[in-house]
Symmetry: C2
Subunit: 145 residues, 2 copies
DNA sequence: TATTGTTATACTCTATAACTATA
DNA sequence: TATAGTTATAGAGTATAACAATA
């Protein structure tokens, strides 16, 4: 693929991301909140520091986020039996439900937009699904949110 | 296209969006800030109310955003000669430069990820570019940011 | 009266710096 | 000393309600 073609593709993907981003305010969970719940859901209880690194936020930010999620009933905290300094955060059933609700809502918004496209476009997009999935995994081990 | 296939496509696009979204904190301009500068760049001076509607934020939020952009030197305000109540916001050369810098940075981040894909995936994505552009325009008249 | 915009107020989410407790 | 986490503080960015000025 030519370098200029790749640049055009990158630009298109940037525009697509930003166009979907405008829909984000309709959700109740922030990106970091949804990402944190997803990590806890898939990987089990985690320390504050590990969550902060994964979500690319500071440790104090993650402390505050966990406190907000705790007050919403979406996560619980327990002492780490192996390290008296650390605590382990785990997701609750309510947290999993909120996460799935957010995913369904977001999928529905995108699906509504797809429904407006002609069949030809949908075929082209369907053909690109494996490539898109590879692209997702290029730098991002945690995307299923 | 089958409904279930479309749902899978929607899910893939959601995951892609969120994986790119994690790169957003590296930029200095917020989504609303970048979108506002882009509108001013392409459409010329606009009223606060028009900008608020376009960016889907409240009028007071846009007032605050414009004040911050003004203090950064990215926009200027002048009186509307046709309506004493209104003011017109316009982008400065510094604002355009900041906008373009942000676009280049984001495109580069995405391009770096594309560079890691095999040629086969790139071909599939290239074939989906027209469809992606149509998808961008389904609900979003302002995406070139 | 209706519209344009600002101010007042509050909450979320982010950051850095300073601190406490444990390793 | 180093690490895990919290608290203190500040700023960006969002909202609603109340207000001033103009149409």
């Amino acid at each position: 693929m030519e370098r200029t073609d790749r640049a055009e593709l990158a630009q298109t993907l940037r525009e697509l991301t930003l166009s979907f981003l405008r829909d984000a305010p309709r959700h109740d969970l922030s990106r970091a909140a949804a990402g944190t719940l997803s990590v806890l859901d898939r990987l089990g209880p985690q320390r504050i520091t590990a969550l902060a690194e994964r979500e690319a936020v500071s440790q104090p930010s993650m402390t505050g986020l966990v406190q907000r999620l705790e007050s919403l009933g979406y996560v619980e905290r327990s002492a780490d039996p192996e390290d008296g300094r650390a605590s382990l955060v785990s997701v609750t059933a309510e947290g999993v439900a909120a996460l799935e609700s957010r995913r369904r809502l977001h999928d529905q918004i995108i699906d509504d937009r797809l429904a407006a496209l002609p069949e030809e476009d949908l075929r082209a997009l369907a053909g690109a699904v494996p490539a898109l999935q590879h692209l997702i995994s290029t730098t991002e081990p945690d995307v299923n949110r």
